[in-house]
């Protein structure tokens, strides 16, 4: 029996390596004092797929950076605090190729002395980003807050239950913390060699990711509501782009963005939002940024790289064999767009 179990694990590993390699993008997060996930500090690990192998280094402050930062802002420096998810963190590209590095390089070339404080954490939504800004970001005295908006923010905001809208539409704090699957994560982290397995074993990564996706499916099912048969599902023959976002999720996202803007401007920082385009194909993209009655894109300062992406129609802008983050080419384009926007804002 033991032999069979051991061989099963070995054979699963061999199968995955031979027939269906799994993108190995381990994520190491831990609870912060303000109740949401933060990057585990002082770590180095690899991200590997069939297309690349890159190193991720998290500094002692939990940021993806190759140095440490003081809270006090050095004189003459423009500080940019970045709030975001895995796109903001620069998944699937080397540090020097992330769009933030590209942006910094372009700003430096334009004669600006900037420091980019990247507080992005993979999996974060706007609600968590607001807490990061309030508890950590503002301590760095930013001149600019750059928020990386992604389509998944809608669902993340709703699921986290960190904030809700009251009956008068005001944003109110609800849950004090949001640490999904923390017990499982803590348990796994205690397994000897967990980090090694996460970065070297295809089978381990595969099982962990399947487990995480089942966990999400079950928790979403248990907390969600649905109509059977779903009339919209029956009547809609194929998926439409962009997908329809529930009105409640859209209003919550707008309220969170509004609060982030207030927090930023009150503390002397401008807010710039990067609207990460969602890819349909190599030539089709759509914006997921909320467009309410308030004319959100006009009210917020949003950088939308879709026009520049469309100029590179057919080129590889998103990795297609892994988790679909930006390629170095897309990072360069986005970095340039951001730098141009920042030079007009600051």
């Amino acid at each position: 029996m033991l032999v069979a179990v051991a061989w099963t694990l070995v054979a699963a590993e061999l199968f995955l390596r031979a027939f269906a390699p799994v993108p190995m993008l381990p994520r190491f997060v831990e609870p912060t004092y303000y109740g949401v996930r933060g990057n585990s500090p002082d770590m180095q690990f690899l991200h590997r797929t069939r297309d690349y192998e890159i190193q991720i280094r998290i500094n002692k402050q939990g940021m993806r950076a190759d140095r440490e930062f003081t809270y006090e802002k050095p004189p003459g420096v423009t500080r940019i605090v970045v709030l975001g998810d895995s796109f903001g963190l620069g998944y699937e590209v080397d540090l020097q190729n992330t769009f933030l590095s590209r942006m910094e390089q372009r700003l430096t070339a334009a004669g600006r002395k900037v420091e980019v404080i990247n507080l992005s954490v993979s999996g974060h939504g706007t609600a968590e980003e607001l807490l990061v800004l309030q508890n950590e970001g503002l301590r760095y005295f930013p001149d600019l807050v750059l928020l990386v908006w992604h389509e998944t923010d809608y669902q993340n905001n709703a699921e986290s239950r960190l904030f809700r809208l009251d009956e008068r539409g005001r944003l109110v704090r609800e849950a004090q913390s949001y640490l999904p699957a923390e017990a499982i994560r803590a348990f796994l982290a205690r397994i000897p060699g967990y980090q090694w397995l996460s970065t070297h074993s295809q089978a381990f990564t595969f099982l962990r990711e399947k487990g995480a996706s089942w966990y999400k499916i079950v928790t979403r099912f248990l907390s969600g509501s649905q109509r059977y048969p779903a009339l919209d599902e029956i009547n809609v023959a194929q998926v439409e782009y962009p997908p329809v976002v529930p009105e409640g999720e859209k209003r919550l996202a707008l309220a969170l963005l509004q609060r982030i803007k207030e927090e930023s401007t009150t503390n002397g920082a401008a807010l710039l939002i990067l609207d990460v385009p969602v890819r349909i194909s190599r030539s089709e993209f759509y914006s997921s940024f909320p467009r309410g009655d308030e004319g959100a894109p006009l009210y917020f300062n949003v950088v939308n790289p879709i026009p520049v992406f469309e100029q590179h129609e057919g080129e590889l802008l998103y990795w297609e064999q892994s988790h679909g983050h930006f390629t170095p080419l897309a990072c360069r384009l986005v970095g340039e767009e951001l730098a141009t926007a920042i030079l007009t804002v600051l």
Binding site: A4, A12, L16, K210, Q226, R227
Partner: protein, 556 residues
Amino acid sequence: MLFNSPEFAIFFLIIFFAYWSLRKRLTPQNHLLLVASYVFYGWWDVRFLFLIVLTTVIDYCAALLIDRGALTVRQRVSASTFLIVCALLFVVPQWQALWLTREGLAYSLHVDWSMLFDNPFGWKVLGATLTAIALGNAVYPFVRNLSEGALRKLIVTASIVANLTILGFFKYFNFFADSFAELYVRILGVQPDWVTLNIVLPVGISFYTFQTMSYTIDVYRRDMKATDRLSEFATYLAFFPQLVAGPIERGAHLLPQFQRPRHWPSREQIREGVWLIFWGLFKKLVIADNMATIVNRSFEPFDSLSSTVAPTDGLTLLVALYAFALQIYCDFSGYSDIARGTGKLLGFDIMVNFRLPYFATSPSSFWRRWHISLSTWLRDYLYIPLGGNRGSPWMTYRNLTLTMVLGGLWHGAAWNFALWGLYHGLLLSVYRALNLRTERGAYRWWTLGAMGLLMFHFTCIGWLLFRAQNVETIGIFLESIILHPVASGQTFSDLKDILFYGWFLLLFQVIQERTNDLNPMRRWHWFWRLNVWLYILMSLWTLSSAGGQEFIYFAF
């Protein structure tokens, strides 16, 4: 409900445990299977259940009349009641008026009472049902007084006509209506809107209609006795594992299995049943659905007539035909395997429908291996009654061709199916005329290998006729393959994909063919079995094509 859906997995688990908890109680077990089968079928469209019920009642009564010359009062009452209750359940209510909502794990049922019975069509069907029952009972005394021979002939003819009328209306009405409309427009220049009813094809109608016809004809031929119990016959006809895409079972094989106690399957039966289910899922999800990508990409420009130029890399289209050969085989035989596997877990033996067809070395060998339940049906109820091979050679060729053309048309009213049937009929005739017998021992292995390869390519040409949406596509494929047999990067890429997804199937089938055993694993050492299982499960987990697709044969 698709076999490859989570709904079916949950459904089957519930049925499996409920079914075996009723062990040793045959009637409740059959009733449970009947309800389960109707739920399974009603998942697509509840209204079409009434068609199955109608067919059930017609052939239940027909077979009893043929066998016994009379129906008891109880049999007439139960058949009439069953029909009325099912009409009231399946066609009178508007099922869209009922819906469930879920908040977390709390479900609530909602009913729109104003809509529920606001269904004029349903009430008309109920009215027609009551009228038919009244007429049937009024005519019954006269029919019963006929001589035995006349009664038997009249009833078997009436049953066949009724079944073929239902099948013909739902399956062929659109085709003839469209053809008529086209002719009407050409002659009169006006679009007639009254002929285009747009009839929706009920899933599996061809399969269960042929199954019920074989039962009545077998009773007529005195090959089997008619069953007394309506619930047994209803369950036989609607048995969910093989209801919508076969195998087309025979009454003499399946019906007695509903009449005798079923025992908890042995360990070996469970093992084989589970294996067949996963093997079928592997064929469908890993091979067929991934082949669909190659096939659809290759055929789509010609299907839509957006391109009418023969590509210069003809070998790419040849590889697309290989992919379709693999897709249709894995799709259809995968379904049959799952059907057999689920049947086994419920204690039933469902017939083998495929026996390694691409190892055939001649057309007759192919038809002994491909869709066996249909080819034997056509042999027993069409080819032999037409005279089979008992007449002159030309009569035999005529019978072969006619049988195959009708077999092609069984798939649907389209000229390409007729053409496909005609092609296979001619192929059978030519092999017969040339006396090319390829049974074991007749030729050396390398000759047989060459003949197998040739037969596979003949089969692929047949698949081109089967898959093409228009005549132009057939011409373009043949022109490109024959006149431009050139490979491109796409050819090698597609070939690589075929080998990537299909290599294990090929290897396993070589072993099956060599050992002449469809389940060679039972004799293997546990370590090899474990490895096969690991490959199948890991493939299902990682290589399944995204987005479950319907089985091709659901369209028939």
